[in-house]
């Protein structure tokens, strides 16, 4: 049998927790201001949702029609945004495998403080049809705080729009504090995440 030279395919991976490469600070709670300005901001947040769509499964197919002329979410001030830095709404649209979860956590942590999560479909609620898979999580809210679940397999765009409405209501009521919740219960979330992600190759919080 011929020996294949593995050298050229080798990837040199730096130490993942190298503090030179990653910021090691942990998230802090940023409390709400109890005044009219906060209300104004809440209103603006609710009316300008920039969504980061994490298309993991069949959900990503269901989200396309949202932008079309038939459903047109832009009339609610909702617009897709390609980078988590600028988005404030995170949509997990389907089953989440362990490998995917890692990316979800990273993206979620890269979003800035008022940030909201919608879990789309049964898979994010209880694992759905993949409930007994060795590789698919069952409950998304054990790993990141979820504001709204939209049930169904798959839910139709109308259901998703209803979900957006629910989310807006939550935000305007001042209950969209997922980011602060995450910071408060950081240890619990992190323990859950680390329980299933065995090769944890990132710092504890991805700024």
């Amino acid at each position: 049998m011929t020996e294949v030279n593995n050298e050229e395919n080798k990837i040199i991976k730096p130490d993942y927790c190298d503090p030179e490469l990653f910021c090691t600070a942990l998230p802090k709670e940023v409390p709400r201001m109890n005044n009219i300005i906060q209300k104004f901001y809440d209103w603006a947040q609710a009316n300008s949702l920039w969504l980061l769509a994490f298309g993991t499964g069949c959900g990503s197919i269901e989200m396309r029609p949202l932008y079309t002329a038939r459903y047109d979410i832009s009339r609610y001030g909702i617009a897709p945004r390609p980078t988590p830095r600028q988005s404030n709404l995170f949509i997990i649209s389907g089953y989440v495998s362990v490998k995917t979860l890692k990316r979800i956590i990273r993206s979620y942590e890269q979003m800035q403080n008022p940030k909201f999560v919608i879990g789309l479909g049964s898979c994010t609620i209880n694992g759905g049809m993949y409930w007994d898979s060795y590789n698919t999580i069952n409950r998304l809210d054990h790993y990141i705080p979820v504001d709204v679940y939209v049930a169904g397999c798959m839910p139709r765009p109308e259901a998703l729009i209803a979900g957006f409405d629910e989310l807006k209501k939550r935000i305007k009521e001042g209950r969209g504090e997922g980011a602060n919740e995450y910071a408060k219960n950081f240890a619990w979330y992190k323990a859950n995440q680390k329980k299933i992600i065995k090769d944890w190759d990132m710092p504890d919080y991805n700024w």
């Binding site: 049998m1 011929t2 020996e3 294949v4 593995n6 395919n9 495998s97 362990v98 490998k99 890692k102 609620i125 209880n126 694992g127 409930w131 007994d132 898979s133 060795y134 590789n135 698919t136 999580i137 069952n138 409950r139 054990h142 859950n192 329980k195 299933i196 992600i197 065995k198 090769d199 944890w200």
Partner: protein, 189 residues
């Protein structure tokens, strides 16, 4: 096809020949003959396309079965070469030098069944699972339900119904009730 089978039989001692269709045949060869067999099929018989390479776990026989599915573009025929390897010591020669695409299959089989292919590039890198520490999940002795329940915080309240009973109840409620009543009566007795 017949001639091909004859040749394979004489050259590689192919056994267990099963002609699935008139252009599709399964053969089984010894582990040591496998590489020569696929090489022969590729170079001399025109089976230039490796459609599939997969594995089966015969836990009762304590064997893994590897299936090499080859396709011939010119006369549109397929040959599926099978071989059995020991489950205790699952090692197989790599055919990545014949088909570069075999690397992906071999990596996948390595990850999901734990069959090693020495010499295949990056065969040990994770493929779909990152940081998997259990026994390979596609092996029959791995209990995926148990693992899922232990690991993934199953949401309480989920229940399972027998599919047949569920459909009967929905479509034929009277019959189902009667049936259930009979069953209950029988049980009571």
């Amino acid at each position: 096809m017949k001639e091909l089978i004859e040749r394979l039989r004489s050259k590689f001692n192919a056994k267990n020949i099963k002609e699935q269709r008139k252009n599709f045949v399964f053969i089984t060869v010894e582990k040591k003959d496998l590489e020569g067999c696929v090489l022969y099929l590729k170079e001399f018989e025109g089976y230039g396309h490796l459609t599939l390479l997969t594995a089966l776990d015969w836990i009762e026989k304590d064997q893994f079965e590897l299936v090499y599915h080859l396709h011939n573009y010119s006369n549109k025929t397929d040959v599926s070469v099978k071989t059995f390897i020991d489950r205790k010591n699952p090692t197989m020669v790599s055919i990545n030098n014949l088909w570069a695409g075999a690397r992906v299959y071999e990596r996948e089989i390595k990850e999901l069944f734990g069959i090693d292919f020495p010499g295949c590039p990056r065969v040990n890198d994770p493929f779909a699972l990152e940081g998997w520490h259990e026994i390979p999940p596609m092996r029959k002795d791995f209990d995926t339900k148990k693992y899922s329940e232990e690991t993934y915080f199953p949401r309480p309240g989920r229940y399972t119904k027998d599919n047949v009973a569920q459909m009967e109840e929905q479509l034929y409620p009277v019959e189902a009730e009667v049936k259930n009543g009979i069953a209950e009566t029988v049980r009571k007795k």
